[in-house]
Symmetry: C2
Subunit: 332 residues, 2 copies
Amino acid sequence: MNIIIDAFGGDNAPLEVILGSKRAIENLEDVHMILVGDEGKIKACAERNHISLRGLEIVHTDSVIDICEEPTEIIKSKNDCSMAVGMKMLAEGKGDAFISAGSTGALVVGATFIVKRIKGIKRTAIATMLPTSKKPFLLIDAGANHDCRPEMLVQFAIMGSIYMEKIMDRRTPGVYLANIGEEASKGRELEHLTYDLLSSANVNFCGNVEARDLPVGDIDVCVTDGFTGNMLLKLYEGMGKMMSRELKGLMTSNFISKLGALCMLKGVKKFRKKMDYTEYGGAPLLGVSKPVIKAHGSSDANAFYHAIIQAKSCVESNVVDEISNSLKEMKV
Amino acid sequence: MNIIIDAFGGDNAPLEVILGSKRAIENLEDVHMILVGDEGKIKACAERNHISLRGLEIVHTDSVIDICEEPTEIIKSKNDCSMAVGMKMLAEGKGDAFISAGSTGALVVGATFIVKRIKGIKRTAIATMLPTSKKPFLLIDAGANHDCRPEMLVQFAIMGSIYMEKIMDRRTPGVYLANIGEEASKGRELEHLTYDLLSSANVNFCGNVEARDLPVGDIDVCVTDGFTGNMLLKLYEGMGKMMSRELKGLMTSNFISKLGALCMLKGVKKFRKKMDYTEYGGAPLLGVSKPVIKAHGSSDANAFYHAIIQAKSCVESNVVDEISNSLKEMKV
């Protein structure tokens, strides 16, 4: 299997991309990695860090799309950037999946116009795993589409449900609609109409979920529009960081508290692991005709490695075909 | 000053309402408390708990509006409930402020149609203080209006700014628009148009704030529509609860960790206090022609006491007149 990776996406490129890719070819069966980006810079970085590039294929391009640039530039002035070239290769069948930690907006535009959507899919959506006290859940859409219609949210629900079943091994995943109350009458017109459609859709729709219940961890899929989803995702991240900082402050404020912290080191490590996003890989763009994974902008080698595992799972379990077939059956 | 309180709003009514009100008349200068609700039940509860009702005025009504009922019932079949009667008294000048821990929806409808809005105000908004690592900030609208127009959000910004200045002693409060990115071009049409209007409004508008930066605590006012605001508020609550639970779990998992927890008890208490909502009182409904405070549904005596202090501050600092004058000057 050929996995294409944007060597110049994210804050830690290209070093951590190289390290994650190395780990993948050494540990995963049947994985060939293709790094797209400035060959000279990749080689210089590898040399500086005493890393052998043996076994990694490099496809050269010297342009990179910046996170500040207009996302649509990926199909205009920046159509030769590492992200665009990687997606063109994916579209042409030169790879089975594509991973980038670069601009989310550009990735969504590129996935839609270069790789193309699955037939019948109205919009691609970003699906992100979020940690909770119990099991993690999938938030979809986490930011690709600000304005959504009810039928888009229904497709997000179907795609999220398939992803959780095929990739995360959840049986008949519980799908919930993010809302400001549990009752069907709550929310805006978008939530009312979506609630009705989801009630008769071929997913295990369990009703509305309030944001306060998300961290409890009783749900599998949380469906919402990309504006609300992005707000939830970022507050989730921000609260997690704040609490970690406060916990660290608590534990290191004086000699006695440091002693105390030592006594609960094991628990703290376990907690950190549970809250660690990197273990879930990246966020798949669902609805695209080939697997495209958005890795977190701050991904390190471990996060890239897990994104590669995730890409491999998506290819092996035919998530794209499963989504395509479900849509044909359901005619949504 | 006469402060009217709904004796039958919230999960802990009427006991905690009585206790909070008692504490207010004993500790605050020039405060007379009027409890609205079933007199028999109030007296029985006081007797059962050996509390003297001396100094507290009771206005009898036997009906209560439930949190599950349609909010508009407060001006229809339930126009004799404790919340409605309290607000009618406020409108008639029999009190200076009103507090309830009952249904938020009913309180918003009642405040709008019984107490009435300030002239020129398009919508009343719920303003909630949220704790952060540094100073708390005000979230407005936290849930009164699902669908908002840009000019409503500008009024929320002005009202929030005045509240933070007059009640929370913040000088030239920094006002931010909740958005999915810091750049002016981010977000939906609502955010684009609001950003433009806020840039020339008479508030200290500092641009967009991403949800991940809210818990950092560098802002004074966060403006958003009531749907997004309610999502943020509830996720904030939910994450706080989850983290507290995890922290408790960490500290009590075994004998050694319990010892460790003892070593950092002081820090934990300080952290809990910082994250404690009850100290900020309740959430004022801004834009109403008299002070109306929504206390948290799970309020205890301490939370009611702080809501009473807050109501007193609103009366004394003429928040309503300040908002009214600002609107006249700004012609928004």
